[in-house]
């Protein structure tokens, strides 16, 4: 497969920042989530213990994932679930289409599933003449606009209510200029109700699959997954293989972490357990690898499979809040996206591990303790090793390292640079290539370095070389 164009995060981010009002709204909306999360976390004793437990459960589960997957399959089959295995996105899409076409399904409602976004299921089904309606409010908004989600939990967080009002006016015939959230939600509800009633099958994602029961759990705040699987008789649930947990009792650990990390809610409004199909109906579970077992085989990046897609790392990331989900050019954005995407294509996503100030907030906020910022640092090393760094960066680091290896050279270069910075005219220093100086002043340059100073007038600290 030909490599796709390189994602230029910095350029995409600069574009997003161009609209100052919008970027501030985006930042504040997400920070609001983070602040609510903090309140919920501080009021739950043993939060850190829960994180540790969750991390250990995931580590254990990943260490024998194949066994647990088979256990899940056996138990699910016993419950009457039909389990399918997909090696990659296209197999997944073919399987889902196969299930639907065999049963002459033409209309499908789908609740939120980042996996189906990752596999581009919607366009695939639409090409084959099947209508797919996203029923999560945010997903429906971006679907109407023919956009991908910009955030894994709040797909339309990049849009203001005025933009949503305009979209609904255009597609759903709401009043022109309306931007009242209650009114717009009501319009969406009426529109979606018809779709629910007309659907012949429901597709959902999976938040947790439980090996020892064969059950799956779907968490939503809107109840759309429940409607979408109660009205039609056919339920297709799509999941990445990393969504597995060993035991039902482990679920209590993750349920306490998930919604608190996202919005600060103690639990999602709907947490629906599916143990087999409804009477007279069908339940299909599609287990998808699509690159996950490759990550599982990597000592450096295995922990990224712990992710429960809570979005806390996106909400806390100071870069994500100011650059928006689209700047990452991949289905999953933010710190976890920057960790996962280069595994898919290191060349295409080479700038993502650098779209990070290494502040470490993502690692501390993560409910399953993925060391995200460390993984991004490891990716930088990988990218350098694979010679994917820009030549300018590579040469600059080579040169700097050479200078810094020799104290005399470092001292000399320091002197020359300080002297020239003090001597050259301002217009020459603040030239077009001086990226620092576009928005920032350089510090006042001292005539003497610290080592010059203490060699001279100050007799302490002792020279000790």
């Amino acid at each position: 497969m030909a490599s796709l164009p390189v994602v230029n995060h910095a350029r995409n981010a600069a574009e997003f920042i161009g609209d100052e009002k919008e970027v501030r709204r985006h930042d504040r909306a997400l920070w609001f989530m983070r602040a609510n999360r903090d309140i919920a976390v501080q009021s739950l004793p043993k939060w850190e213990l829960l994180r540790e437990k969750a991390s250990q459960i995931k580590s254990h589960c990943m260490s024998r994932l194949a066994d647990y997957l088979e256990q899940f399959q056996d138990n699910a089959t016993e419950l009457g679930v039909r389990v399918h295995w997909a090696r990659d996105a296209s197999e997944h899409n073919e399987i889902v289409y196969g299930i639907l076409s065999e049963r002459n399904v033409r209309k499908v409602v789908k609740s939120k599933s980042m996996l189906t976004e990752e596999c581009h299921l919607n366009p695939y089904l639409e090409e084959h003449g099947i209508e797919v309606i996203d029923t999560d409010l945010g997903e429906r908004i971006v679907q109407l606009r023919n956009e991908p989600p910009s955030h894994i939990v709040m797909p339309a967080v990049h849009l203001g209510r005025e933009q949503i009002g305009a979209t609904f006016h255009e597609h759903l015939g709401s009043e022109a200029g309306a931007s009242d959230p209650n009114y717009l939600t009501d319009v969406a509800c009426r529109h979606l109700r018809d779709k629910f009633l007309g659907a012949e099958a429901g597709i959902t994602g999976v938040n947790f699959a439980i090996a020892d029961t064969g059950g799956i759990v779907v968490c939503t705040n809107e109840g759309n997954a429940d409607l979408g699987t109660s009205l039609p008789k056919i339920h297709v649930a799509c999941m990445g293989i990393e969504k597995l947990i060993p035991r039902l009792r482990d679920l209590s650990v993750f349920q306490r972490l998930l919604a608190r990390s996202t919005t600060g809610q103690p639990i999602t409004v709907y947490s629906s357990h599916f143990h087999g199909p409804v009477p007279g109906g069908e339940l299909h579970v599609v287990l998808v690898d699509n690159g996950r077992s490759r990550i599982l085989g990597s000592n450096d990046f295995r922990r990224s499979l712990h992710c429960i897609r809570c979005s806390a790392c996106l909400n806390t990331c100071p870069v994500f809040r100011r650059s928006g989900g689209y700047s990452y050019g991949s289905t999953i954005s933010g710190p976890i996206g920057s960790t996962l995407s280069p595994s898919r294509d290191a060349g295409q996503f080479r700038t993502l591990p650098f779209a990070c100030s290494l502040c470490g907030s993502c690692s501390d906020v993560c409910p399953v303790k993925i060391d995200l910022h460390s993984q991004l640092l490891v990716w930088r090393r990988e990218i350098a090793l694979r010679r994917l760094l820009p030549l300018s960066k590579r040469l600059a680091m080579k040169l700097a390292s050479f200078v810094l290896r020799h104290t005399w050279l470092y001292e000399t270069v320091g002197k020359v640079l300080r002297w020239s910075s003090r001597t050259l005219p301002r217009w020459l220093i603040y030239n077009r290539l001086n990226v620092w100086g576009r928005q920032r002043e350089l510090p006042p340059i001292p005539a003497q370095s610290f080592r010059d100073l203490y060699k001279g007038s100050h007799d302490r600290p002792k020279r000790d070389s």
Binding site: D38, A400, P443, P444, R460, D464
Partner: protein, 281 residues
């Protein structure tokens, strides 16, 4: 070799003998651009009763190369650092970021080298050296200003110099503990206690737009909080923030925490240079 003079202020608290040798690790950019911060560091340590040595062979810990992923360019610098400081009993540095480099990111280059674990354990950021090793309980002096404490990320989340706002548990901050020992100093309350300033090394250049917006947002927070003097344990964060403050002409002075602890007068040190009027952006 000079004897280490144990000051009269805290003699019983210091478990240092006259043979204890403390190496001063001055990050390259502080050496070249902020010599007064290094001087203030020396002064604070001396006022706390310890004498330090400055091995002049030192240059840079290698963090810029490591954070770019260039391990081959980092390795010789990690070795140089190790060779320079291995024989000291303590290594003290006025930068959280550079200490985090030694303590958390040198394993890749020096793992298994005899003396390396010892080096990691004896290398301290200035504030933690004062609170954890010297156990300073008084500093004297007064600083009648409203101080905004910027929590530099590597100090906070790698060295754990304070509790990061993401984590549950009791709040603490080593830099804050020290600042509160100074008379008349008031610490301002921020809306976002520890958001990153956006410096991030080469990030400041390669992601200039995001970096500068992050910095401006931090500054706005400090303006609303009434910060008169902005401080941090890392001069790199302050170089970025100061660059924006001076360009945007905000009434905030910028000082490294060592300068405040050393009793410097904000009206005299760290004087921002006026941007020329024709170069405003």
């Amino acid at each position: 070799m000079g004897a280490v003079s144990v000051g009269s202020q805290f003699p019983q608290r210091i478990k240092l003998t006259s043979m204890t040798r403390i190496g001063l690790f001055i990050p390259c950019y502080i050496d070249q651009l902020y010599p007064h911060v290094a001087m203030a560091t020396v002064e604070v340590l001396e006022r706390c009763g310890v004498e330090v040595y400055f091995p002049t062979a030192q240059t840079c810990c290698g963090q810029p190369m490591a954070n770019t992923g260039c391990t081959n360019e980092t390795r010789p610098l990690a070795w140089k650092f190790f060779e320079t400081f291995r024989d000291y009993d303590y290594v003290v540095c006025p930068s959280g970021s550079c200490v985090a480099m030694v303590r958390h990111h040198y394993d890749e280059y020096l793992d298994g080298t005899p003396g390396f674990i010892d080096l990691k354990e004896k290398t301290f950021e200035l504030c933690e050296f004062l609170t954890d090793v010297l156990k300073v309980e008084g500093l004297g002096g007064r600083f009648p200003y409203r101080v905004g404490l910027h929590q530099s990320c590597h100090g906070l989340r790698e060295l754990r110099l304070g509790r990061a706002s993401e984590l549950a548990g009791p709040s603490y901050s080593k830099a804050r503990t020290l600042l509160e020992l100074i008379g008349d100093l008031e610490i301002t309350t921020l809306e976002r206690a520890d958001e990153c300033c956006g410096f991030g090394g080469t990030f400041a250049m390669s992601e200039e737009a995001v970096s500068c917006l992050m910095g401006r947002d931090r500054i706005r927070d400090h303006l609303q909080a009434g910060t008169e003097v902005l401080t941090a344990v890392d001069m790199s964060c302050l170089m970025h923030l100061s660059g924006l403050i001076v360009r945007d002409k905000h009434p905030i002075r910028v000082m490294h925490v060592a300068e405040i602890l050393a009793g410097r007068d904000p009206a005299i040190v760290s004087l921002p240079q006026e941007p020329m009027s024709n170069e405003k952006s």
